[in-house]
Structures are given as structure tokens and as C-alpha cells.
């Protein structure tokens, strides 16, 4: 095969592999209940939905590519053909089956779907086996460092490569961090902070490099001159590295656990390394290359040793790759998966480039190797990083992703692994859970008084309170919302019960914290708000998004808002326009309830570029622009209610299901973590005039999104009863005792999509966060100005907060009769 034909063949093989990896990735995302319901079903990223829609068709293209890539092997008269022909038959059968019954659109969450993902990797693994069978004679011909002298030469070169790679990576990312810091307000990262970050970055990169050197050198010594053994051990080590990275960065984040997840991680690791080595081996075999070590299979044999203009191109390309990975991850990422994967790719690329540029002529004394290896180890083990330094390094890691990865690897300590396991076991339940009856009023009967108030419940997905003028005086772009707030009660200390839509919205409708499962079916016995509306004959204008479809019983009383509109395309202005039309056509004596979950400020719907005016300065402009747009529409809707004389008898609740990270510590979004910015929400309640005149409220005590439904009950004249600590309580007509309880009782908050729990205490001034996905915990303290500061977690505080979380989960288990 000529070089150009080999390149074309390799391109076909890469396409085949990428399609398999995408199919597997889709299946693994679908295997997670929350990811399926919250990302795939509402099509948060439309191209993912398109991939699923067209997968059956694309599968034929993939088959054609697979045939093209395997044609040469199929025509051989050897073992390769005996492997290739069944593979092609298998691929053809799978494609046919997928056409008749498309697999991806029908995937349900669970272990079976994880295994389907593993199955999707089978063709790549099969191809990799074929490659190795074809290249077996070539591999058998190679020899590695038979004498002690050549072995030492290999180790000296390897050591030099590892250390140079660490130095280069440190310098590269330090440069990129400096670029990122231009224009950023980072008082912690002045010269001393940067120097500290750079020093620790160097220590940690050297640490990783020395560990890699020792692992490969150890494998070399173990192989004792046997090339094949060295190759197999290196293959296994690399595959395991990729598998662990997959499990830690992707699997854990979407709740993939257990043997099936381990199998998926291993299949992924082997498929990546198998494809990589398969392509390289075939080429080397055809070129009849002589390899000096198994490492040459991965990175190629060394060059001449000098740095030429052409040889420097890969270095420039590596810089470009590092920058591109950071730029892509800044646009859309999930718990830094892309960022970390990009860094890993850069590390491997740098190592490969340096490996090829380094000759084996340099000899190093053993004492020097020992000294350099021990230096970062001693530094890491002996230099104590205090709380201030940790904060500075955490800030530096925001701008230096390579340091973030290395620091995470070396300074991560799972504090309480058994507690983490306990949290994971109580999160994202997959077993059947029977619904229980949740009632805020026993024997709920309709209210005698007429006309009943109109109820409007607007939950703006991901709206942060500090982007509203009524919460933050620096905001100048929400005049209409501020005017509405001035006529309403602004609960200044409001928090969501769940850091994600998937459980936050059901909990709001239930008026209670609920079992961590998406979803208990039927939901109706737990749906206290629906019961209230049904009992009082409310006509319901409801946006039936992907969650509401799971929660509501379809009835004639429900009139859908935004029919035919995909959940992620719900726009507040459009919804309010429809609502006005429906209200105009409704008999004013009919009690009306309206609900919507607009997606205008959801991270996936923010504009890429915006006009940045002075009013958006110090705010995240794409987000602020959308809040500004919402403000105008909401103002027009309030004007409409006033014009029609409905405003005075309306209960209008404006809130959010959760907040959002808008770049704090380099984080965006809300799904996979709990931070103060994610759990704080706005809660503005306009009470009907008759109630507003007499209601007493403590607007500065902690209020929760699960308090909304009990408050609606109270606003209608009921006396909601809080039967247990999971249930919400009315925020109006609170006596001093209730107010004191709200200010002093600890509240447990959970992430919707993973095992992360928070304890909010001291009227929302202290926050403890237990992260059972990554292990570890955090603590924050809020001063009276609203500013959150990260604090060190003492063992004593950890003990008590974890006890509170265990008590909460025990109560959930008891009340919801969760079978274990």
C-alpha cells in the first residue's frame, strides 16, 4: 500500500471508530435516567438529537466505510480474512437490524443500555484484533534493549523526554494562563499568586512526568529485552489509564456505576489504544520499520535529534491544540470532561513530539535521575498548603487546565469514602418506588369563596437572583421585574431544594422534598399542587415540557401552552403572548392557573455573541441580555393583567428551579455540582390584594422552592400542615415561632443528577457541600452583603453535617418507603 493509500485507509478507519464511539457515547448518556430525561429528551444539544434521528441512515454510510477499510483484509487468504469476513457480516446484520428497528431513539435507561454501548465498540475492537493479527509477524521480529547498556540508553532518553515534556507543558499552560488572565480581575493572582501557581504547576507536572517515566522504565526492566511483552504491558497500562479517565471524568458524572460501567470503561480504553496501535502497527509493518522499543509503536521512532524548521511544526501544532481545547471547552463542557480530555491529549502529544525529537545519545548518571524524581515528591509531601494558598491555587487552576488536572490527580484525597458510597446508594434510585400520598391539607375540599384568585407560576430555568435589580442594586437591566417586585414580596433568602430541573420542578409541585428518583410513577398522589387545582376546578394553562408530561394527569382542564414546541425552545415572551390570548378568551369567573418553565436563560440557549453595553459590565453579558429580554415581556404581561383588572386578584410567583454558574472558578452550568450560585434562586410573590393587606411574612428568613405550593394553599385560604421535615411550609402568615424555625433549622439540598448534597444552616449563611461524585467536601460562609467565601472544612463540622445528611436520607427512605 502506498503512503497516500495508507492515509486514505487510516481516514476510513478513524471514521469507523468515531462513529462507533459516538454511538457508544449516546447509549451511555441514555443509560443514565437523568441524562436521558434532561439532555436527550428535551434536546438540549439539538445535534445530538439529529444524530439519533439519522443514526439508522448514517449506519449504512458507516457500513460502507467499514467495508472500504476492511476490503483489503477480506481479500487476503490468511487469518486476517477469517476475522474480517465475519466482522463485515456482523456489521451488515447490525446495520440491517438498526434500520428495521432503530436502536438509539428507543434506548431506555439502565444496565442494558450500557451494554449496548459496549456492543457498539465491538467493531473497533474486532478491527484492532485484526490489525494485531496482521502485524503479529512484524511484532515478533522486533527486539528491545537486549543489553544493559542499551536498556540504560533507553531509560536515559525516556527520562529526558519525560522531564522535557513536563517543563514544556508547564511553560505552555503558564503562557496560556497568562493570556487568559489579561483583563480578568483576580486580586489573588498578582505576581506572588502567579509565582506560587507556576511553582506548584512545575512540581505537579514533574511529579506526573517522573511517575510516567518510572512506570515505563519499570515495564522495560520487567520485559527484559522482550519487545512483545513490553508492548503488551504498555498497551495494558495505557488502556487502563484511558479507562480510569473515562470512569472518573464521564462515568461518575452521569452516575454510571457497577460492573457494567467498569466493562464500558475498559472497552473504551482498549478501543482507543487498540485503534491507535492498530493503525500504527499496520503502517510500520508495511514499511518494514525497525523499532527500538514498544514506545515507538505509539510515538514513532526517534528522528535525527536536531530541531529543524519542519520538526518544529508539531510544537506549534501542540500549542494550537492546547489553545483550541481550552476554547472549545469554554463554550460547552460537562464537569470539565472536554477540558481534561484536551489536556490529556496535549500531554500525550507533547510527549510524542519530544520523544521523536530526542535522540538516545545523551547519558545521565543515576543519581541525577533519583534526585529529579524525588524532588517533586518531597516538595509535594512536605510543603503544607494552607487555606489561603489552596484558594490561590484553585483560582490559578481556573486559568491553567493542565495544572487543574495535575493538581487534582495529586492533591485529591477522598475524605470519607464510606459516606460517599452511602450517598451514591441513595441517589438516582433505579429500583421501583411506590408513590405515597402527600397531602398538605387532609380531606381537601374546594374553597367556598369566589372568585378564586388567578395563579401564575413562572419558573425561569436557571435564573439567578443577582441578575435582578430587586436582589442586586447594581443591576440596571430589569426595570419591569423590579417594578413588579416593588408591588410584591421579595424573598431575599430563597434556595432551591434541588440543584437541577429534574427534581426541583417535581419537588415544587409536590410541595416537599422527594425521593431521589426520576420519576416515581404515577406522580399524582404526591402532586399536592395538582390536587389543589383539581379540587378547586382551576382551568390550567400549562407548558407540558418533558418533565410535566411525567408529573401531570392529562385532563380536559389542562390547556397546553407552547404546543408542539420542543422543551428547550420554550421562550418566555412567546409563552406569555399565548397566555394573554388564552386569558382574553376565558370567562373571567373561571379560576385560572398558568405554569411555564421558560428556557431563555438556560446555558444551552445563551447567545454566542452579544452587544455589550455599560449596563452589562461586571455581568455575564450573554446571560444578562436574555434576562433583559425576559424583563420587557414580563412587564407587558403585568400591564395586560392590570388592564383587564386581573392583577389585584392574582397570585403571581416568579422564581427559578435553580441558579447557574456563570464562570465562577471557570465553571458554567448547573447540572453536576452544587455551589452557592446554583442553589440560590429568586422568589418574588405577588399576593392577591385581599391577602396582601393582612399577610405577615418574614422575607429574610430562608425560603425554599418547596415552600411555594404550601404558600399557594395558604393564599387560597387553606391551612397547610407540615407533616414531616421534608415538606415545605407556607411563607405567609408565619408567626414568630415559624419564622425562627425557618432561620435556624438546617436544610438539606441535593443535586438532581448526582450524589452531591448540601447542608444549609444559620439562615442560609453557612453551606456545607458533600461531593460523593469526586469525593471530598466544601464549606462556604456568606456575609451580610451576600458574598460567599470558601472556608476550610473542619473534621468536627464535617461529622455533624454528614450526620444531618444521613438523617435526611433516612427520613426520605422512611417516608417514601424506599426498598433497599
Amino acid at each position: 500500500m502506498t503512503r497516500s493509500r495508507h492515509s486514505a485507509w487510516a481516514a476510513l478507519r478513524v471514521f469507523v471508530a468515531v462513529f462507533c464511539w459516538m454511538t457508544a457515547a449516546y447509549a451511555w448518556v441514555a443509560s443514565s435516567t437523568f441524562a436521558s430525561l434532561q439532555f436527550l429528551k428535551p434536546r438540549v444539544f439539538p445535534w445530538v438529537g439529529v444524530f439519533s434521528d439519522w443514526h439508522a441512515f448514517a449506519c449504512w454510510v458507516w457500513l460502507a466505510f467499514a467495508v472500504g477499510a476492511s476490503w483489503h483484509d477480506a481479500r487476503r487468504r490468511d487469518a486476517a480474512a477469517r476475522l474480517t469476513i465475519p466482522l463485515l457480516i456482523f456489521c451488515g446484520a447490525v446495520t440491517m437490524w438498526n434500520t428495521l428497528d432503530p436502536v438509539l431513539p428507543g434506548l431506555a435507561s439502565g444496565t442494558q443500555t450500557i451494554l449496548i454501548g459496549v456492543l457498539a465498540l465491538l467493531p473497533i475492537l474486532w478491527l484492532a484484533v485484526t490489525d494485531h493479527v496482521v502485524a503479529a509477524p512484524f511484532l515478533a521480529r522486533q527486539s528491545f534493549a537486549v543489553s544493559e547498556d542499551t536498556r540504560r540508553a533507553f531509560e536515559d532518553r525516556l527520562f529526558l523526554v519525560a522531564v522535557t515534556s513536563a517543563l514544556f507543558t508547564t511553560a505552555l499552560y503558564a503562557g496560556l494562563a497568562s493570556v487568559g488572565l489579561i483583563g480578568a480581575f483576580e486580586p489573588d493572582l498578582m505576581t506572588p499568586g502567579l509565582a506560587s501557581g507556576l511553582a506548584w504547576s512545575l512540581v505537579d507536572h514533574l511529579w506526573v512526568a517522573c511517575a510516567v517515566f518510572l512506570a515505563i522504565a519499570g515495564i522495560g526492566r520487567l520485559a527484559q529485552g522482550r519487545f512483545l511483552l513490553q508492548y503488551v504491558l504498555l498497551f495494558a497500562t495505557l488502556a487502563m489509564t484511558f479507562a480510569v479517565a473515562f470512569q472518573r471524568w464521564a462515568g461518575d458524572s452521569i452516575g454510571m456505576q457497577g460492573p457494567a460501567s467498569t466493562l464500558a470503561a475498559c472497552a473504551f480504553g482498549v478501543s482507543v489504544v487498540g485503534t491507535w496501535t492498530g493503525l500504527r502497527l499496520r503502517r510500520f509493518a508495511e514499511e518494514r520499520a525497525e523499532l527500538g522499543s514498544a514506545l515507538d509503536v505509539y510515538f514513532g521512532p526517534p528522528g535525527s535529534g536536531g530541531l529543524t524548521a519542519a520538526g518544529s511544526l508539531p510544537i506549534v501544532a501542540t500549542v494550537g491544540l492546547a489553545y483550541a481545547c481550552m476554547a472549545v471547552a469554554a463554550r460547552a463542557d460537562w464537569d470539565f470532561v472536554l477540558l481534561k480530555s484536551g489536556v490529556l491529549a496535549v500531554w500525550l502529544t507533547v510527549f510524542g513530539v519530544v520523544y521523536r525529537l530526542t535522540s538516545g545519545r545523551i547519558r545521565l548518571p543515576s543519581w541525577l535521575i533519583a534526585l529529579v524524581c524525588l524532588a517533586p515528591l518531597v516538595a509535594q509531601q512536605t510543603i503544607r498548603v494552607d487555606a489561603d494558598q489552596t484558594r490561590i491555587l484553585a483560582h490559578y487552576a481556573v486559568y491553567n487546565p493542565s495544572f487543574r488536572l495535575a493538581f487534582g490527580l495529586l492533591h485529591y484525597v477522598p475524605t470519607t469514602p464510606s459516606f460517599d458510597r452511602f450517598l451514591r446508594a441513595n441517589t438516582g434510585l433505579t429500583q421501583e418506588v411506590e408513590p405515597i400520598d402527600i397531602d398538605l391539607v387532609s380531606g381537601l375540599s374546594p374553597l367556598p369563596k369566589d372568585p378564586k384568585p388567578l395563579i401564575f407560576l413562572f419558573i425561569i430555568d436557571s435564573l439567578r437572583p443577582d441578575y435582578l435589580g430587586s436582589y442586586n442594586p447594581a443591576v440596571r437591566f430589569t426595570p419591569r421585574l423590579d417594578a413588579f417586585a416593588s408591588e410584591s414580596v421579595v424573598f431575599r433568602n430563597a434556595f432551591t431544594r434541588y440543584g437541577g430541573t429534574g427534581l426541583s420542578v417535581p419537588a415544587i409541585w409536590a410541595g416537599s422534598a422527594i425521593v431521589h428518583k426520576q420519576y416515581v410513577q404515577p406522580f399524582h398522589p404526591m402532586n399536592t399542587l395538582e390536587k389543589l387545582l383539581d379540587a378547586n376546578g382551576y382551568r390550567q394553562f400549562v407548558g407540558l415540557d418533558s418533565i410535566m408530561q411525567e408529573l401531570l394527569v392529562r385532563s380536559d382542564r389542562i390547556d397546553e401552552l407552547d404546543p408542539g414546541v420542543a422543551t428547550m425552545d420554550y421562550q418566555f415572551c412567546s409563552t406569555l403572548g399565548q397566555l394573554e390570548s388564552k386569558l382574553a378568551a376565558t370567562n373571567p369567573s373561571v379560576p385560572v392557573f398558568a405554569y411555564s418553565l421558560p428556557q431563555d436563560v438556560h446555558m444551552s440557549r445563551l447567545p454566542r455573541t452579544v452587544e455589550t453595553g455599560p449596563e452589562y459590565q461586571s455581568f455575564h453579558a450573554p446571560y444578562a441580555t436574555k434576562v433583559h429580554a425576559i424583563d420587557a415581556c414580563f412587564g407587558r404581561f403585568i400591564d395586560f393583567l392590570k388592564r383587564r383588572g386581573l392583577y389585584e386578584r392574582s397570585l403571581v410567583v416568579l422564581t427559578a428551579d435553580h441558579g447557574e454558574m456563570l464562570g465562577e472558578d471557570g465553571r458554567f452550568g448547573h447540572s453536576y455540582h452544587l455551589f452557592p450560585q446554583v442553589i440560590q434562586v429568586p422568589l418574588i410573590v405577588h399576593l392577591p390584594a385581599a391577602l396582601d393587606r393582612v399577610a405577615s411574612v418574614d422575607a429574610d428568613a430562608v425560603s425554599l422552592t418547596t415552600d411555594i405550593t404550601p404558600t399557594i394553599y395558604a393564599a387560597l385560604g387553606y391551612s397547610p400542615v407540615r407533616a414531616n421535615r421534608l415538606m415545605g411550609r407556607s411563607l405567609v402568615d408565619a408567626d414568630e415561632h415559624a419564622s425562627r424555625d425557618r432561620r435556624r433549622e438546617p436544610v438539606v439540598i441535593a443535586a438532581s443528577y448526582g450524589a452531591m448534597y448540601a447542608v444549609l444552616r444559620h439562615n442560609g449563611r453557612r453551606l456545607y457541600i458533600a461531593d460523593a461524585i469526586k469525593g471530598g467536601d466544601l464549606a462556604y460562609e456568606r456575609d451580610y452583603s451576600g458574598r460567599w467565601t470558601e472556608m476550610a472544612v473542619s473534621k468536627g463540622a464535617r461529622t455533624v453535617n454528614q450526620f444531618i445528611i444521613r438523617q435526611y436520607l433516612d427520613e426520605v427512605t422512611r417516608i417514601f418507603r424506599v426498598p433497599f
Binding site: 517522573c210 518510572l214 470519607t416 463540622a797 455533624v800 454528614q802 433516612d810
Partner: protein, 187 residues
């Protein structure tokens, strides 16, 4: 220097550090809060079956004398069983053992109030403020205690300190207003 020996030694050192990193810091090893016995105590507390929880908690305390969590459990249990003297002793033990003694506040002082030992209770409220000077609730508790002692000036000063840390507390503002008026009227 023997290169093989050197590499193996360095490798062993690195592996040792990695194992230590992966194995955790061991802070939770003294008492497994998720062992069956511990869980039975916590479940009983959650279900308010304090009499059932007590013997198991006491047994665990004998086995793990330095464990602050058991002292915390016992204080909660004694509170549920309405045994304030034992509760105070358990809180004292908790304060001695824990690096977060403020978690005993204000319960320890409340239990002393229940026993009628108001002077000791006042001392504990003051001690609680010292445990966590940035927490306004502890100052409010102390202010309440001063007020119960008819020490209006001290109460007012303490409430004012609390208001500096929690300026959006209407109940506190009302209390300051009432006390200020009492002071002005010379009562």
C-alpha cells in the same frame, strides 16, 4: 549505582504515595458511621426512638472514647429523653472532643436553662459567642439570656452586635427597638 535497584526503589516510593493518596486521609476510620451499630443509633434518633438508641450509643462510646459524633448522638438522645443534666454532660464531652464545638450551641446552654442553672447557662451562651464570633444567632441567644436576667443594657448591646452581622432580621430589629424604648423610658 545499580540502575534496576534504583528504578525499583523509586517506583516503590511513587506507588506508596499514590496508594496513600487513593486510600484517603483516614479521618473516618476511628468510627465507621455507616457500620450497622452506628446506623441503628442514627435511625433510632431519626425515628425518635431515643430509649432504643441510648444503650447502643453508650456501648459505642465505650469502644470509641474519643469520637465526637457519639457525644453528639448522646446529647441529642438525652435531649429527646428529657434528661437535661445528662445532655449537658454529653455536650461538654462533645465540646472537648470536637474541632467544631459551636455545634453544641445553643443546646448546652438551653439545657442548663431547663435545669434552672441560669448563671451557668449565661456563661455557656458567652462561650458559644466565643466559639463562632461571626454567627449572629449566637449573639441573639446571648442577648436573650441577658434579657432574661433583666440586664437590658447588656442585652441591647449584644443585639446591636448581632444586627451588625444580620442587618435583615426584622425580629431582631423589633427587639432592639423595644429595648431602646425601654432604656429611654428608664425601665
Amino acid at each position: 549505582m545499580n540502575r534496576t535497584l534504583l528504578l525499583l526503589t523509586l517506583l516503590a516510593v511513587f506507588v506508596g504515595v499514590i496508594v496513600r493518596l487513593a486510600g484517603g486521609s483516614g479521618v473516618d476510620r476511628s468510627l465507621d458511621a455507616l457500620a450497622p451499630q452506628s446506623r441503628s443509633v442514627e435511625r433510632a434518633i431519626g425515628e425518635r426512638r431515643f430509649a432504643d438508641a441510648l444503650p447502643v450509643a453508650l456501648e459505642l462510646q465505650r469502644a470509641y472514647e474519643d469520637e465526637s459524633l457519639i457525644a453528639y448522638w448522646l446529647a441529642t438522645i438525652y435531649h429527646g429523653l428529657d434528661r437535661p443534666r445528662d445532655e449537658v454532660a454529653a455536650w461538654e464531652r462533645y465540646i472537648r472532643l470536637s474541632s467544631a464545638p459551636v455545634e453544641a450551641c445553643p443546646n448546652i446552654a438551653d439545657a442548663l436553662e431547663q435545669l434552672g442553672e441560669r448563671a451557668r447557662a449565661l456563661e455557656q451562651y458567652q462561650r458559644c459567642v466565643g466559639f463562632d464570633p461571626r454567627e449572629p444567632d449566637r449573639l441573639v441567644d446571648l442577648g436573650d439570656a441577658w434579657e432574661r436576667e433583666q440586664k437590658v443594657a447588656q442585652a441591647l448591646a449584644t443585639y446591636r452586635s448581632a444586627a451588625l452581622l444580620d442587618p435583615h432580621n426584622p425580629a431582631l430589629a423589633r427587639r432592639i427597638d423595644q429595648l431602646s424604648r425601654r432604656m429611654d423610658s428608664g425601665q
